[in-house]
């Protein structure tokens, strides 16, 4: 297990180096000059040159790359070329908001998706199962921004139960402010989880070892919840892992609709403004998140299924 973990971790080093290099050069290839954006219609060549110097963009590209690489290895992502604020500080400020949203959404997705998926499997090919399939397909097809606006109009304007914007203070208020955005994201993931959970469960139920368990006269509840559930969770964990990485980097629409700060909005603004250090910092953080979550998903497989650990 430890060997496996060390080997997987070491493998991430060349991946990270390659990603960091690609991130740096891709940004330089994309058209758009931050100095021109900042100066607008007053961008005289002299003023542009002055800003380039101030931003460090007047140096040769290889020099910029080496500085960037050296700083990144030391955990220093530099300063925003606009606000001159430390990128690390900006990421540290934005990360908890997106992380909370992602976790809460996964929580909601799990409490809806896993039980309904199990029930759907148990009542396979019944009216309930068919109805649930239709509902999950509708939810899956509905874009998150539409669900978000719908929830806002219903539960914030028409029935004023929840706030439409902000992040709140303290434990309970933060949870309270997270409810609508998390339901928006969570229901979409829940719909996918229902389908995955159900089909995975049905597959497990039809396997030989379950037939053997049943032949032993074990009660049906135990067959489902003790023997089949554990193995059928493997693909579900994969789906959760994939959604988690997607959520951390792609919650931007929800952050916009609910006027929440977060990594998505930070990165998006920086991309439009060609704020290279912020974009680089955000992308490196996303990259680390993807690598870590993938690692955790792999490790959780071995926890759920000892055979994977042994192999």
């Amino acid at each position: 297990m430890i060997k496996y973990f060390i080997r997987r971790t070491l493998l991430t080093i060349p991946t990270m180096f390659l990603c960091i290099t690609i991130i740096f050069f891709c940004l330089r290839v994309v058209p758009g000059d931050p100095a021109l954006i900042m100066l607008g219609e007053n961008a005289t060549p002299e003023a542009v040159e002055g800003l380039h110097k101030a931003m460090g963009l007047d140096k040769p590209i290889w020099e910029q790359y080496l500085t960037f690489l050296n700083d990144t290895l030391q955990g220093d992502f530099g300063k925003s070329i606009y606000s001159e604020k430390s990128v690390s500080k900006q990421l540290i400020e934005a990360f908890p908001h997106t992380f909370n949203l992602a976790l809460m959404s996964i929580f909601i997705a799990c409490i809806i998706g896993i039980p309904l998926g199990i029930v759907s499997a148990r009542k396979h090919n019944t009216l309930f199962d068919d109805g649930l399939r239709v509902v999950s397909l509708i939810v899956l097809a509905a874009p998150a921004f539409l669900v978000g606006i719908f929830l806002l109009i219903v539960f914030s304007v028409q029935i004023p139960l929840f706030p439409s914007m902000g992040v709140g203070n303290g434990f309970f208020e933060k949870i309270y402010y997270l409810i609508l955005p998390s339901i928006t994201i969570g229901t979409g993931i829940a719909a996918a989880l229902i389908r995955f959970m159900s089909s995975s469960m049905i597959e497990e139920i039809n396997k030989d070892y379950i037939r053997t368990v049943r032949a032993k006269g074990i009660p049906e509840k135990l067959v489902f919840y003790k023997h089949a559930l554990r193995n059928s969770l493997i693909p579900v964990v994969t789906v959760i892992g994939l959604n988690m990485t997607g959520l951390l980097s792609g919650a931007v629409i929800i952050e916009m609709i609910f006027s929440r700060p977060g990594l998505g909005s930070l990165a998006l603004d920086a991309i439009f403004a060609r704020d290279f250090p912020v974009v680089q910092g955000s992308l490196i953080l996303f990259m680390l998140i993807v690598i870590i979550v993938n690692l955790l998903v792999d490790l959780s497989y071995s926890l759920l299924n000892p055979r994977i650990r042994q192999s």
Binding site: D33, T44, E46
Partner: protein, 524 residues
Amino acid sequence: MMKRIFIYLLTLLFIVAGCSDTTSSDGNKNPKKNEAPKEKVLKVAVDSNPAVFDPYKLSTNSELVISQPIYNTLLRFKTSSIDIEDIEGGLAEDWETSKDGLTWTFKLRKGVQWHHGYGEFTSADVKYSIERVMDPELGSTSRENFKQVDKIETPDSYTVIIHLKQPDPAFLQSICGPAIVKKEAIEDNEKSGEIRPIGTGPFMFEEFKQNEKAVLVKNKDYFLGEPKLEKVEIHFMTDLTAIEIALKNGEIHMGPGLYEPAWLEQMSKNKDLTLDVSENGVFWGLYLNTSVDIYKNMNLRKAIAHAIDIKKYVKSRRLTAVEPKSVINSAVRGAYDAHYQYDLKKAKKYLKEAGYPNGVKLPEMTIPNLASFKGGAEFIQEELRKVGIELPLKSVDMASWVELVYSNQNPSTTVGLAAFGEAVVPFRSMFYGPSSMGQPTAIYNLTHFHEADRLIEQAETEIDRQKLDDLYKQIVEKIHDAYVVIPYVEGRSPLIRSNKVDLGYDFKSTMIYMYYITEKTDLK
């Protein structure tokens, strides 16, 4: 197994809260659920995130909205006015100019205090601020306005004398631009890397939360009187639907409006809200780059100008648009009447004379991927199609478009520009030969028009009102006769506010795309 899953999920919920940034604050509970706040806190929504806090580098409206109540200028336009006649004292109580227009003397207010204990405001601060704007290394967006400044003298703590190299008819309005800053505060911010703007305005900077909000608190010692509001919160809400919902919900008090007719109609019927439309606007035109071969053809330019039914477009925009009056923004002093008549017969005739009797396909026009650009460009595309002119469109993100324009690679473009004050300023940046894109002295001449260079040079140093106005007339005529810019709309910015807000002044216009917040602004 189910028990274990439940425990995992419960742990997840606690992690959510455990990972929360405890310093994060909002206070925007649904007011319908909560009691009215004890403090008078004005909540403003802006549709962009600020990145820059240096008052000399501001460009987005959120940056302007944050900085407006913090800083003061030497002179200023009366709140909500853009009329040159309405210029009044700001940090300067009085001012005078020599007969030759080369020397400007400003008498400063005494006893004005900088925020957060930075001491008393003096003439040294004015000298530092203007010299800072002029510093090419800073890259200030206002630097061009001070190119005529020769030297600045401060004979005592309350007098500033500015000597110009040449008379400048726009100097008075230029001096209304740059915020006066404190050297020590700028240096402290540079050293610490913290965001902490220090000004002399009615509100002081308290805190900034990335992508969330900025909070300002009242400056009790403000020289024009203690502000009525305790705090101002500026929320960054990039989704306009979210702003609308928060406004209706009472979670914010003011915000930007949408240009959509249906939205405007709906808002104007809402009894809890007031819809305002700024008198000044953004002048939108189709700019034809005459350095590109096809647009050197005057008859083709004429055909394009006469093929666009401006009235139809303006009508479709309802409240937020008026017909353009001149070749520049109508709020500008010197925007004399000049427009092109919509006449398809004429357009076809000119197209034939241009050598394209069977129509023509123009080079692709690249525009930013924004609704404000797209609406007009697509309308023009349809109008031109009627006479057999095909205008292919391509949209890219703003940064790519800016680079394309500055490298003179866009054969034509639509663009909206806000301007006020003396016309010589936009004339010089947009219709002066050396300001043409792609040149070392480029400013923003998108068309490469240069036929009025001599007149613009004369206007730049003309301080006789009558002579200056005559020059403006001639310049407008020349631009009009060259058919390089086809004006199609003057957009008016819609703003929306709760009826609880008492602005403390009559709203007419705004240059920050938001209501001005002053010491008199209040919540009922």
